[in-house]
Each structure stands twice: as C-alpha cells, then as structure tokens.
Amino acid sequence: MADTLLTTRRPERSGSPIDAAKFGIVEKPLSGWENVWNQTWLRKLLILIGLALIWEIYGRVTNNQLILPPFSDTIVAFFASIADGELPVRVWASIKILSLGYAMGVVLAGVLTTLAITTRFGNDLLETLTSMFNPLPAIALLPLALLWFGLKPMSLAIVLIHSVLWPVALNTHSGFVAVSTTLRMVGRNYGLRGIGYVALILIPAAFPSILAGLKIGWAFAWRTLIAAELVFGVTTGGGGLGWFIVQNKNVLNIPYVFAGLFTVILIGLFVENVIFRTIEQRTIRRWGMAS
C-alpha cells in the first residue's frame, strides 16, 4: 500500500550524459596566494626567518658577546671557520665515526632480526637483549668503553653501535612480525625460504617500520655522538664537532660555540629532511605504503 504511494507519486526520468571528453576536467583553480601559502617549505622558511630576527634583535639589545652573540655574529663565525678549514675537518671527523658506528649497528641489527625471525631461540635472544639494553642510554656506556678500548675511535663506535642497534632491531623485528599472512604465503608459494625469503619478501614488506627504525637510530646516534665528543674530545685533543664546541667555549669564543651548535642542527636537518625524505619518497610513498 505504502509502496504504491511512493512508486506512483513521481514520474520516472532519464538524462542524456555527454562524453566527458567534451567538457574536459572540471576544477576550480586556486588563487595565487593560496598556491604560495600551500608550500610547506615556504611557511617553514618564514618561521625560521622570524626566529633569526628575534635572536638578532635580542642579541643586539642585551649586547653581551659572552652570553648571546647576535645571529649575524654567529653566521660570520660559521663562515669564517668554514673558510679556515677547521669546521669542515671537525664535521668530517664526526661524520666518519658516525657512519662507521651506524653501519655496524645496522648490520648487527639485521643479523639479530634475521636470526629472530628464523629461529625461536633467536627470537628469545632478541627480546631479552632489547628489553635489557634499549632503556640504557648509550652515553652511559662511554666510561666503560673508554676503559676497555682506551682513547680510540673504537670507544665512540661502541657507544654509537649501542645507540643504533636496539631501536633498529626492535623496529625491524616488529615490522617483520606484522607482514601479512597472505604475503608470507605468496612468498612461500614461489618456493622462497631462508635468506631469499627475508630479502625479497620480509624486508620490503616491513620497509616502513625498518625506515622508522633507521630514522630513530640516526637521531639517537647523532645526539649520542655530539654528547660523547664533549667528553671524549677533551682528553684526546683531536675530535669532531662536539670537541669544536667545547674548545671554543674554553677560550670564550662564544660566536664559534653557536656556530658549532648551528652546524649540529644543520646536519641533523639535512639528514632528516633531505636524505631520509628522499629515501621515503622513492620507496614507501611511491609504493603507497606510507601511513
């Protein structure tokens, strides 16, 4: 009854859709300002310029070179120490030891997680080790490392390995565990096992977590290295960027201290926003795997 009312009340109708090619893409263009304001880098650049301005003004008002030299002095010091070759040498020393420790940490993490995914003993081993060592700040190992290996780069490398190994291993392992059952079955369907299975199925499938682990590992390693050099550099005399900071503070060359800090930030930003961003864009973003 009710249906009759509904179905007879209004007449049927038919439209005549025209080919989409005839009217092209219908879209509303953004205004020039909207386009400009949509550029993330531009908005961030504005924030940076604002901060530099505040720093400059505050530095000039307080006018105390020992507490806060203005931004312009810091920049001058920065370029001066690049020109006289000291800063590049220090940066290079830091980067060299960092890459060594980072690479060794990542390789060890790879070995540990491969073991953990293929054997039950390996799994227990990884879980026990990570829960033991992950909460231990890497810098706390420095005194021991200095005792065991002396004032050698090896001591720094040990501390760096410690700071990279656990976060990378933890993330990689949880990434491996989260690989979908379907994808695992697909891999086994092709007769893949052992290393081939890990390399061709698990690593790419878990790549979002692995990349997250690599980023965390990098952040830990970089902070740890600078902190370690503040201690380590004093005793050996020839060190990296951390030592550059301490040394200039000791001679009250404060603009150079700020230039050192500035370099630490610049390198951090470069690795995070250029290197890791590029890797991300070429891998997980392209594959539609980014969360």
């Binding site: 979908s180 379907t182 994808l183 079955m185 697909v186 086994r188 369907n189 092709y190 007769g191 893949l192 081939g196 061709l200 199925i201 790419p204 499938a205 790549f207 891998t283 392209r286 594959w287 539609g288 795997m289």
Partner: protein
C-alpha cells in the same frame, strides 16, 4: 553435445591430475584443537574447473591450503600427478581473496615477473615477454608500470590471476578470489576468467561460498557440509552452451540450496 573418448583424451580427462583421499585437517587455536575437514576425498582431472562449495566453517579454504602445501593433513594423502604434496611450490599457484597479495613495492609487470624469476622458471627477456603476454590477457597492458596501490580491487585481482597463470602451473588454486569485489565487478571477473579458460584450458580449484558463483564458474562442484567439512555431494555444473541454461541453473541452484538448508534445519532441531 556428444562427447567421444577422443574428446576426453584431448582434454586430458583420462586420469586425475590431483587426488585427495581421506584427508583430515586439524589446526590448533589457543585452547582448542579444531577439525576443519574429516576424511574428505576428491579427484581433479586436467582442465577441470573444480569448485569447492560450502558454507563458512566447512574447511574449504583450509582444504585448499592443504593442496597448496601450507598444511599437512593429520591423515590421508594429497597427490599431484602421483607425487605427494609436502610443501608449497610454484606448480600450485595460489590466488587469494585479499588485495594485499600483490607486492606493493613492485609494479604490475614486476609482480607478474617476480615468481617467474625467483623460481628460476624464466629469465631476462623471456620472463618479460611471458609477463607482458599474461598482463595483456587480463587487459592490463596500459597499467603494466603502475604500482598496485593505484589500481582498483578488480584490477588487483586480475594482476594476481595473471601472475599465477604466467607461471603456467599444473593447477591454479583460487581461494575466493572475487569475494571482496562488488557485485558488478565480480560478475565481470567471472566472465573474464571463463574467457581465459577458453583460451588456455588451465586446471583450477576454485573455492567459494556463493552457489551462483560456483554454478557460473565451475564445471564440477564439490559440496561440503560444515563443522567439520565432509563431502556432501559432488555435482556436475551446467554446460555453458546448454539449451535453457538459465532454467537448469535455477533448478540446480535450488537443489544445492536445499542440501545446505536441510543441514541447517537439522542442526537447529538438534540444538532446540
């Protein structure tokens, strides 16, 4: 259409390709041992489109995974061409229901090429050629260089089918490949699958819980009863060029429906 002995041997229908006999499958959950199927036996002949049909809980997917070599039967044997199935292998390519069976880090073409290369079947140009040929068969040539996340669900399943078929396996195992698709796409995919069969006459086992899909896609249908899965019946489907096909399909559909429904009434009666 009268079939002669010559026709049968033409299709290779003289001896079974796959024989499953007395297979009981069990798996453990956290606190139970579940029997998925109990003493199931069936045979699949070359070029058959063999459908395993049953309600959820009849162990049909588990049975297919056992044929795939992922599960070892508690009793009974599964033989493919005489050899006992013990582990997964590229001679039994699987197509799954889930869209994430494609590797998101590989393009359509790379996905289709991957098993060819990793199993050592083909290399270099030969693998490329074979992959492109099967991508064309599923009408995805334009999308060969796309990554899976840019494709629709139906297209992803077509890639999975192309990938499995490119290996030219002894038998194709399809685990509800169209279940996650919308009704219109599903219908279209069924027709495309039959077109592919007309071209290459591959052997497949197709698992589904839809009676309509079973009748449309299959040539022979194994009906399983639930909890645990046991053989209820094995029926022939309606030939695609049969006169009054629609009518015959409707009759068979209601016959199957009754068989499954009778079970339910009994079960409900037993509970009450």
């Amino acid at each position: 259409m009268a079939t002669t002995a010559a026709d049968l041997s033409d299709l290779g229908l003289t001896k079974p390709l796959l024989s499953v006999s007395g297979v009981t499958l069990q798996y453990k959950t956290r606190d139970h041992q579940v029997t998925a199927t109990y003493r199931v036996g069936f045979e699949v002949y070359p070029s058959e489109r063999y459908v395993i049909l049953g309600p959820s809980g009849c162990g049909k997917s588990t049975l297919l995974k056992a044929v795939g070599g992922y599960i070892t039967p508690t009793e009974g044997t599964i033989r493919l061409g005489g050899a006992i199935v013990r582990q997964p292998g590229a001679d039994r390519m699987m197509v799954f229901q889930e869209f994430d069976q494609l590797m998101p880090w590989k393009t359509v073409k790379q996905n289709v090429k991957f098993p060819l290369i990793s199993s050592g079947t083909l290399r270099g140009d030969a693998a490329e050629e074979r992959a492109l040929a099967y991508i064309e068969k599923v009408n995805l040539t334009k999308f060969a260089d796309n990554y899976p996340h840019t494709l629709s669900g139906g297209m992803k399943q077509r890639v999975a089918i192309a990938r499995a078929m490119a290996m030219e396996p002894a038998i194709l195992l399809m685990d509800e490949p169209f279940a996650a698709l919308d009704a219109l796409t599903r219908r279209k995919m069924q027709d495309e699958l039959l077109e592919l069969w007309d071209e290459t006459r591959f052997t497949m086992i197709f698992v589904t819980h839809s009676i309509v899909e079973a009748l449309r896609v299959g040539s022979r249908i194994l009906l399983l009863s639930p909890h645990p899965g046991q053989v209820k019946a094995e029926l022939n489907s309606i030939e695609r060029d049969a006169p009054d096909r629609e009518e015959a399909i409707r009759t068979l559909e209601s016959r199957i429906h009754e068989m499954l429904f009778a079970d339910k009434v009994e079960a409900e009666g037993a509970h009450g």
